[in-house]
Every structure is written in structure tokens, then in C-alpha cells.
């Protein structure tokens, strides 16, 4: 078997807030072509882990490598330009702009040319097609001209993903993309994630266990900031410690 294509690697990541250790010595790898789910109760440190990986907050210790390059000291925008896309648990879009403009602005980050004040932004031959492709892929092809703020909840979650895709990332960090979605919307989102798996390394933080076990190639379980198990789904399901700490309450 060839060595897996590791795109993002978090090594011994720790984040302390005063006396609280939100993320405690976590190591994990994301490889191209696989969905890596991170599960855990509320407050287990999942979102903080995403924030450490994406560079939104600095780690107290540990390092992050993106495509083999140490990016620990890089701020979030630099990591994003290097191919790290993320979505937020609380929908983070531009509600006043149209769906297309949301995606176009995200895609524009790949060719920013801020000094070219005389060039029209919407005439960019890179951003416009990329935005349209991303919106299509996320299932928003019919809503391009709608103000994003008027989308349904599910639509906004799709737009989050579309904006992420518009920046053409290699790594996707998705923070509860299924939160608040109905069964039909969940199915559609899982299909989308499955279709994205081939070209990307995906980290999925999610509470919906059925969905996680349907799509994940690997599952990491966090309790109180620390990893208690990280394995293929069947092994995690069978893990006694996980059952006691987390799944037990559902069984």
C-alpha cells in the first residue's frame, strides 16, 4: 500500500484558557480521499481543535503542518491561501450579498489583485466561474441571485460549504455542517461530502452519529479536550472506553 497523502497534520496540539485545557495534546492526520470525523460531547474541544488547525487562535503548544510545511506560525488568512478551507458551526456568510457574490468574493481570495482599482471585480475570469461551479456543486445553482440572508437554514449551511469550495481548498474543516438540518437536507449534504472526498482531505465535526458512521473513514473521539480513541468506525464502535465515556449514553 502506498503511503497515504497526508495533507494536514496536527501534532501534540494543546490550548489552555487560563486553568482550563480545552485541547489537550491532540495529534491527528488528514489524508486526501478520506473523511475524518471528530466526535465528542459539547465542550469536548472539537471546535477549538478546528480553530487551532485553521489558525483562528494560536496553539499554546504543538505544531501544525499543511502539505508537509510547518504553518504553526502562519495566521489564518495565509493558511487559507495555502489550501485550508473551513466552515463554521454558526453560519458565517455575507447576508446582504447574493449567493453568487458570496461565492465570488470567496473565490476572489485566490486572485486578489487589490492594487488593480480600475478592474471590475465581477469581470474576473477566475473568480466568477469558480464561484458558479462552487454554488452548483453545493446545490445552490438555482439561487445564485438571491440575497444570502433570505435562504433557508439548510440553504445557508450549503452556502457555507459553497464558499469554502470556491476558494479551491485541499483540506476542508467542517464544523457541524448538518446542525439543524432535516432528513432530506442531511442526505443531500452527505452526498455532497461523499462526492468531495476524492479530491480533498476532510475533517468533519458532527453530532449526528448516524451520519458520522455512514460517511467517516476514520473517527476520533474527544473527551475533555483529549483524544480517547482514534480508529476506523467499527473499531471505535467496539471500543469499551468510548462506549463508557460517550456512546454509552446512547446505547
Amino acid at each position: 500500500m502506498p503511503t497515504p497523502d497526508v495533507l494536514l497534520r496536527g501534532e501534540r496540539l494543546t490550548r489552555r484558557w487560563g486553568g482550563l485545557t480545552a485541547v489537550d495534546d491532540v495529534t491527528l492526520e488528514l489524508t486526501r480521499g478520506s473523511v475524518h470525523a471528530v466526535i465528542g460531547t459539547n465542550g469536548a474541544g472539537k471546535s477549538t481543535l478546528i480553530n487551532l488547525l485553521s489558525g483562528e487562535i494560536p496553539a499554546s503548544s504543538g505544531r501544525v503542518a499543511l502539505k508537509g510545511q510547518d504553518v504553526t506560525a502562519w495566521p489564518q488568512p495565509a493558511r487559507a491561501r495555502a489550501g485550508l478551507g473551513r466552515s463554521y458551526q454558526r453560519t458565517t456568510i455575507f447576508p446582504q450579498f447574493t449567493v453568487l457574490e458570496n461565492c465570488r468574493l470567496a473565490a476572489q481570495s485566490r486572485r486578489q489583485r487589490p492594487w488593480a482599482w480600475w478592474e471590475r471585480a465581477d469581470a474576473c475570469t477566475l473568480a466568477m466561474p469558480a464561484a458558479q461551479r462552487a454554488a452548483q456543486a453545493a446545490g445552490l445553482g438555482d439561487d445564485l441571485d438571491r440575497p444570502a440572508g433570505l435562504l433557508s437554514h439548510g440553504g445557508r449551511r450549503q452556502l457555507e460549504i459553497a464558499m469554502c469550495l470556491a476558494t479551491a481548498p485541499d483540506v476542508l474543516l467542517l464544523d457541524e455542517p448538518l446542525a439543524g438540518m432535516g432528513a432530506e437536507e442531511t442526505d443531500r449534504m452527505l452526498d455532497l461530502l461523499a462526492s468531495l472526498r476524492a479530491g480533498h482531505a476532510i475533517l468533519l465535526v458532527e453530532h449526528d452519529m448516524d451520519a458520522v458512521f455512514r460517511i467517516a473513514d476514520r473517527i476520533t473521539v474527544m473527551v475533555n479536550g483529549a483524544v480517547i480513541a482514534s480508529d476506523v468506525p467499527e473499531a471505535v464502535r467496539a471500543n469499551a472506553e468510548v462506549q463508557a465515556a460517550y456512546l454509552g449514553s446512547h446505547a
Binding site: 485553521s54 473551513r86 455575507f94 446582504q96 486572485r111 486578489q112 487589490p114 488593480a116 482599482w117 478592474e119
Partner: protein
């Protein structure tokens, strides 16, 4: 092009023609007044770039204006004219450098702290001109000889003639407006709109938002400095009040009154504010009350802002909406 954009373009053209023809019907007083208002309109446009387009509430815009104005006067020798082609760029450069310095530090803060830090830096500049020999105190300084607009010894424009200067300022206003309108449609302009709408998302998408905000702040300072140059040449006089927080505050009122988020709002706001002030200061109209013009002006502004949340420039859109009926109201959708 939407119906709104089309009528907007027509309105803009009508306004430009009206301003161009205005001196034909106006006397000396009117020409002088509108020249001053147009200088303030340029200054208000510089602030609109920050507040209305980028979401940065700067409470120290007067400092860059004053530095531009003072530089013109301080660098002009007492008995001979200097070339405007040398003087204006240097004055704008000084304002720009101070904006770069203030922006670099103040943009590390947010919200109310940003407002206070920009105010503090502006007051610092104010006291430099107010209390050091450089600015020669409260009395200000006169500009004895206006800068020359000459190419190879040939005088192109005589800035000392009020009518000529009126058209110089009108041209400057039109150019500033056109420049900003084009800029706002560019990638840079859209990125600023993104920063205003959701900075977190912009960073997640890969924009170094600090650099964008600093660029906007510095550019805004440069435009304010340019307005300062025009002001100094117009009046031939500068005093520390040009840098005072009163002016920074009035500018904020102008752009809010005119309507944030629209460039024309800054221009309309500058005209509305100055004309309202003139009306309330008019003694034949208000008698003894004219001394308390601030009260009348303040109450009128409060009423206007309460009745027109999108400002005077938002009035056509508001009327169109009411005519259509209760169509869904989306902020900025037709801006």
C-alpha cells in the same frame, strides 16, 4: 442595469450639470459657499470610504484634513508663489504618512476602542498645531501668495480667482467621486465590503484583512489631505480648528445624514448639513434664536435620521419600495 442604477446615473449627471451652471446664477457669496461645501464633500467622501464602505468608524478624519491644509501654508514662502504641482503632492504625502501611522496602530483595536484611538491621535495632531511654535497657536496662519499652476512659465489657472477656483474644486470633487465609484467595484472595493459585512469570513477565505483595512485607512487619509489642500488654497488661512474633533464629528453627521453605504450620500450630506446650518444661523429668519443655531440644527438632524434610516440618498429607494408595496426589504440589495 437596474432601474435604480439608471435613475441614479441620471440624477448624478443632473447634479453635475447643475453645479457647473450654478455660478451663472449665483453671486459671490453663493460661489464661495458652494466651493466650501464641495471641499467638505470631498472630505466626507474620504470618511464614507471608511465608515460606509469598510465599517470603520473613524473619529479623527479632521487631522488628515488639517495636516494637508497646514502643509500648504507652512511650505509656502511669504512673498512668492510655489508650484501647486510640487506643493499639493507633498501636502497629500504628509497626510498620507500620518494616516498610515495612525491606521497601523488604531486598526489593532476594534469598535468603540477604534473610535477612541482615532480621536486620540487626531487630538494629538491638534495640539501640535495649537500649542507648538510650528502651528503658531490659535490665531492660525495666513497664506499670502496662492500656489501657482504653471507649466513652463505659462499660468494655466489662476487659483486666486474665486470663479476659477470653483471649477477647480468641482473638477476635484467629480474626479474623487468617479475614482471611488470605480474603486468600489474593483476587487479591492468588494473586499472592503466583505470586511464590513463579515470580517471573520474574509479571513477564513484567505484575506489578510488588516492589510486591507490599513490600505483603506491610508487612502482615506490621502483624500482627506487633498481636501485640506483645497481648503487652504480657498481660504488662504488655516487655524487649529481644522483638526479639531468638532469637524470630525460634523463629518460623521454629514455622512449619516446623507446615508451610509452610498457615495452620493456623503456629497448630499455635506450639502444638507452646511445649508441647514446656514438656515439656522440666518438672523432675519430666526432672530435671537439664530445664536443657538446648534439646537435647531441638532433637532432637525435627529428628526431626519429617525425618519430616514438610510439617509437622504436612500430616499428614492425608500419611495420605490413603498410604491411597489411590501416587497421584501433587503439591506444593500440595490445599493
Amino acid at each position: 442595469m437596474s432601474a435604480g442604477a439608471k435613475t441614479g446615473g441620471v440624477a448624478l449627471a443632473v447634479a453635475a450639470v447643475a453645479l457647473a451652471l450654478f455660478p451663472l446664477v449665483a453671486g459671490k457669496f453663493g460661489v464661495d459657499l458652494v466651493t466650501k461645501i464641495m471641499v467638505f464633500a470631498i472630505l466626507a467622501l474620504s470618511l464614507e470610504l471608511l465608515v460606509g464602505q469598510t465599517g470603520l468608524v473613524c473619529f479623527g478624519q479632521a487631522a488628515f484634513f488639517g495636516i494637508g491644509a497646514y502643509t500648504v501654508v507652512l511650505l509656502s514662502p511669504q512673498y512668492e508663489a510655489v508650484s501647486i504641482f510640487w506643493l499639493a503632492p507633498v501636502a497629500v504625502l504628509f497626510a498620507t504618512l500620518y494616516a498610515l501611522f495612525v491606521g497601523a496602530l488604531s486598526l489593532r483595536t476594534r469598535g468603540i476602542y477604534f473610535i477612541m484611538v482615532t480621536l486620540a491621535f487626531a487630538q494629538m495632531a491638534y495640539y501640535v498645531f495649537h500649542d507648538t511654535p510650528l502651528g503658531r497657536g490659535t490665531d492660525g496662519i495666513y497664506l499670502y501668495v496662492k500656489p501657482a499652476v504653471e507649466v513652463a512659465g505659462l499660468t494655466l489657472v489662476d487659483l486666486d480667482k474665486p470663479l476659477t477656483f470653483y471649477y477647480v474644486v468641482l473638477g476635484a470633487l467629480a474626479l474623487t467621486f468617479a475614482f471611488l465609484a470605480v474603486l468600489l467595484r474593483s476587487r479591492f472595493g468588494r473586499a472592503l465590503a466583505g470586511v464590513k459585512a463579515n470580517e471573520q469570513r474574509m479571513r477564513a477565505a484567505g484575506y489578510s484583512t488588516y492589510a486591507y483595512k490599513l490600505a483603506a485607512f491610508t487612502l482615506s487619509g490621502a483624500i482627506a489631505g487633498f481636501a485640506g489642500v483645497l481648503f487652504a488654497v480657498k481660504d488662504g488661512f488655516v487655524n487649529p480648528e481644522l483638526l479639531a474633533w468638532h469637524l470630525s464629528g460634523s463629518l460623521l453627521v454629514m455622512i449619516i445624514l446623507g446615508g451610509l453605504g452610498r457615495l452620493q450620500g456623503a456629497v448630499i450630506g455635506a450639502f444638507a448639513y452646511e445649508l441647514l446650518r446656514l438656515i439656522f444661523q440666518h438672523e432675519p429668519l430666526f432672530g435671537a434664536f439664530a445664536k443657538h443655531w446648534q439646537l435647531g440644527l441638532g433637532l432637525t438632524i435627529i428628526a431626519m435620521v429617525a425618519l430616514l434610516p438610510e439617509g437622504l440618498a436612500g430616499l428614492p429607494a425608500e419611495i420605490r419600495r413603498r410604491r411597489v408595496g411590501r416587497a421584501p426589504r433587503t439591506a444593500d440589495a440595490d445599493a
